[in-house]
Amino acid sequence: MNNIVILPIVIPFLTGALLVLFPKYVMIQRLLSVLSFLAVMGTAVHLLQQVGGEGIQILNLGGWEAPFGIVLVADTFSLLLVITSCIVALGCLIYSFQSIEWERERFYYYAFIQFLITGVNGSFLTGDIFNLFVFFEVMLLASYVLLSLGGLKKQLRAGIMYVLINIVSSMLFIVAVAYLYAVTGTLNMAHLSVRVAEAGQPDLLTAIALLFLVIFAVKSALLFFYWLPESYSAPPTAISALFAGLLTKVGVYAIFRMFTLIFYHEPGITHSVIAWMAGLTMILGSIGAVAYGNIQKVLAYNIVIAIGFIVIGIAVFQEAALTGAIYYLIHDMVVKTLLFLLGGAMVGLVGTYQLKEMSGMIRNHPYLGWMFFIASFALVGVPPLSGFFGKLLVLQGTLETQFYVLGVIGLLSSLAVLYSTMKIFMNGFWGENQLSKEDEKTSTHGLLLPCTLLICVSLFLGIGVEWVNPYVAAAASDLMNPAVYIEAVLGPA
């Protein structure tokens, strides 16, 4: 029992509720939002130290013992993701101080960001499957509002599509929970894991596992990503960057959790389906990223490629690959947000998304240009930067387990990523400078600070691998040994 485990959920929730009271006092809203994220980050780091020393920390809510009450579980994997999502959210928050119009700011913008983070952190920390559904809904409802806040025509259009696809997948989630409850009679993840292991995962449970896979694949844009490019290009940059960094990654987290903790007995079926989905996702994402000449579409398809790459770790189901996948997941949350923010700054300067209509920005904005360059090299995985280590380990895992095709697709998709981001860089920053200082639609004043923050985190992840790696390796080894999680939640068997 450790009461601190609930703080990453309660702090943003209470801050959000407080911010609802005075929507017009924007400065106080900004200050409280930043303080809230710093506090969450502090508690998460503190918890990470505790988990390192004493093992997985749990909190039985209301004092009810594990299978009967709701339990919050803080293991290394969830805490790493909580910390990363706070960094990402902080970056987007500071970016929105300059970039979000006051009409939006005064309509509960900061409150909804807090609620979004409540849902994200709750999904990472919960140990109960229906509670996971509820936190998903908390996150998604906040994202619906943030997506359509402002009410522009394209936001409304994208909002309708995004809401519909997510409601359908949420209803499927309820259906899957109902089936799972009928078969096992429990909703606690650790207890589910025990029950599924006792039953030896018969065909019925494998079918339910595949239903869960479909649901989380829709949420995380794994293969079913047709909703993503449209809806992520509708809202303002700060919001789409927040979505790019967080929302799909929560779906990936859920896939990791479900298929390492509960449904790991039939890898021949479930994990090979995941492998196929990962391969197809990378191929289709690469085609999209190469094809478009629109900054936001290119970056959106890069999200899809990365999701496919991360999920290889689960498909291969081997410790090195899983370590690499977690490392790449953390790196991708940071760098993808960074790229969206930098792309948004470029779009803001030129006033168009089309690459054809911009060039030569490096003259007036060298700092922006070189940051974009470093970020895209980090995304591709060029050695000293953050994407390298994760990719290396994932590829090593595919080779050791003879998933050669997946490894080759992963490597080729890196080329597509490189080509697509360099297409943005060379079109936008090189060439004749058509844009004088006076023609620029907005300035980058204040926008580069959060980008610098995120690029420092990314560089730290790359250069400080030795320091980050023990945590990531611990997270992966916990995922490979579900007994550790079960013992922490249900007590020694």
């Binding site: 229906f130 509820v134 809904e137 409802l141 619906y144 509002v145 359509s148 009410g151 025509k153 394209k154 409304l156 259009r157 909002g159 309708i160 809401v163 519909l164 409601i167 359908v168 949420s170 209803m171 309820i174 259906v175 929970v177 109902a178 089936y179 409850y181 009928a182 909703l187 449209e230 998304y353």
Partner: protein, 112 residues
């Protein structure tokens, strides 16, 4: 009884799928309402429909119905209630801005 309920739920899912594949936003929202009914009935059915008293301790019966699915349904109902209210307003605003509720006419325009 469970078989009858399963068939009902199946019919609800069928109707909902059909409605959600149509072009009018309002019919799609109706489809969402019906699919949520189906999902909630499914939780009730999957929890088991054996006879028993309502889950109130004052009944002093030998056996009660399972209280957990009922709590889950109650949670799911309020969530889908909030979602439906939001979708209805969003559909109204979309209709207001685009002057159409036909999804085929809500495609992106060439200048975006």
């Amino acid at each position: 009884m469970e078989i009858l309920m399963s068939i009902t739920v199946g019919v609800l899912f069928m109707v909902a799928t059909y409605l959600m594949l149509s072009r009018s936003i309002f019919r799609i929202v109706m489809g969402l309402v019906i699919i949520s009914h189906g999902a909630h009935l499914l939780i009730l059915t999957m929890g088991g429909l054996q006879n028993g008293m309502p889950p109130l301790l004052g009944q002093e019966a030998a056996n009660y119905t399972d209280p957990l699915p009922q709590a889950l349904i109650l949670t799911a109902i309020v969530i889908s209630f909030g979602l439906t209210a939001f979708v209805l307003v969003l559909a109204y605003r979309t209709y207001d801005a685009h002057k159409t509720d036909d999804l085929d006419q809500l495609r992106g325009t060439s200048d975006e």
